[in-house]
Amino acid sequence: MTADTARHATAQAQAGQPLLQVRDLRVYYHTPRGAAKAVDGVSFSLEPGERLGLVGESGSGKSTIALSLMRLIKPPGVIEGGEVLLGGEDLLAKSEEEMRQVRLAGVAMVAQGAMNSLNPVKRVREQILDGLADHGQPIAKRAVADTLGALLRSVGLKPEVAGMFPHELSGGMKQRVVTAIAISLRPKVIIADEPTSALDVVVQRQIMDTLLRVQQDLGAAVILIGHDMGLMAQFVTRLGVMYAGKLVELCPVQAIFDEPLMPYSQLLIASLPSLTKKGELRGIPGLPPSLLDRPTGCPFRARCPHAFDRCAVEEPALRELRPGHWAACHLY
């Protein structure tokens, strides 16, 4: 990248250009029985400092999106097409070495299943320093203790944790270490893929508070992936709903509770237990379609209570149905 295009990119970002723009992302898993379209034409954008949530059933493609933003999709998965623009630069067009530099420094990940995300035979100190060293930012020996101490304190850990092995830490502490590693190079985007799934509720809350605080300190944007609507309501500003590899609704988080447009989102909200109305816990009847032979038309129509003729023929596009509220549905 020349200095000229760099300046251009910065200028664009400053001119209200979104920080991260995903356009028509498609990720297929090639199986002996054909391609499973795990992510099939997803587009969204992220403003600096914004917190975006992605919810959906397991297998709806939300974790695949997280991995493809870091370009960590492994065979038989392939990123078939689309663009991922970070500050105007297409990550999908970068060389492997350029992409490696972007990981952690540009886009960092707080991994799913963070309980096992730390190397069991290395001390916390080494695992943090590894990331710095491989991005050309080794720390002088004298400064190591101070830097690590400050970093660990910022996620609510004592500096002594640096000298410990992962098996000596509790689940919540491990999650904090993973968070500390993720913010160690002050990334612009943090992807948190079900960061609290293995933790108990109290610790979940503490971890989310920590994540919120470091996000605001850094001014980083966050993509939070999960299926806990309560967590989303408290943490994110905008919410995307995934279904069968597609983004079917995208709106400010309050709007999804006030007026869900897509029938799938409606059922999702209706199935939540609530403190005020004591209803039974209802699931959504039916199963999502096979990703291998996807039916024509709307992917949700087989389970949709409002499906009509057009839904079987034509696939609905994501349209802005209310100001700032996008949904893919023929009902509107």
């Binding site: 499973a36 609507m229 939540l272």
Partner: protein, 305 residues
Amino acid sequence: MANTSVNFPTPTLASPHARDRTAPQALLAYCRRNPQLVIGAAMLLGLVLVGVLGPFFVDPKQAQPLSAPTAQPPSRQYPLGTDDYGRNLLAVMVTGLPLTLRIGFLAGALGLLVGTFLGFVSGYLGGPVDAVIRTLVDTSLTVPGLLILITIAASIKGFISVNIMALLIASLAWRQPSRTVRAQVLTLRDRGYVQVARRSGLSTPEIIVKELLPNLLPFLAASFVGAVSYAILASIGLEALGLGPQNDPTLGMTVYWAISFSAPLRGLWWWWLPPIVAVVILILGLLLLTMGLDEIANPRLRRAA
């Protein structure tokens, strides 16, 4: 915080079309997916055929010394040549190969039988019995078997026959199977259907025979092949040191005689090469068979690599 997570069903990648196939077609398709099994079995079958069909082509009596001119290279009359004793080496191969197979299968079967019994007892009963058996197995496994066998065989050198050889090796071949079987029994013991059988009043031997054994069959098959490989390698190792049946031309003894007469240095390649090739085919065949059986016993390993 209330538990607000939604219970999502798991999606399925399976295609809805059930595939209809006849049994032979399914077998063929399976063989294509598990080529190790087929190739391994074919290699072993080939070796067995050498022993079965060989006597129709060559007189086994020529495996005795002084039945041919000495140290002749392969010729039309003696396709594998002859050795310093004047033995027709083709006859030696035809007689010796089945003997080595017999030692392997006999010792493997005995070892598996004892090992399975101990493994079941150890795994199913648990407690002090388990502790004693486990200590015995673990401790003896740290001692290299070949050394124990050398000690024993050296003491009874003049008395070794093919069957004694098999017994001798079986005395060590039970250790590994007992370990594998014990581990498998432990995982099976607490499964639901075994618990149900126990509650419904079946006796311990009944549970072992009716519930556990059928589920262990693939494992036992794999263990058997493993025990046979161990036995064959051990017998050949002992024989190559001269500690085998002195009057029988097993593969290992043939190699031993070739070494003691410096056949490799004198260029008599036809003396030592055929038994080595036979051993390699044998061991490779058993190895492939084990891998193929492992895939049946442990489908989760499939496509792991």
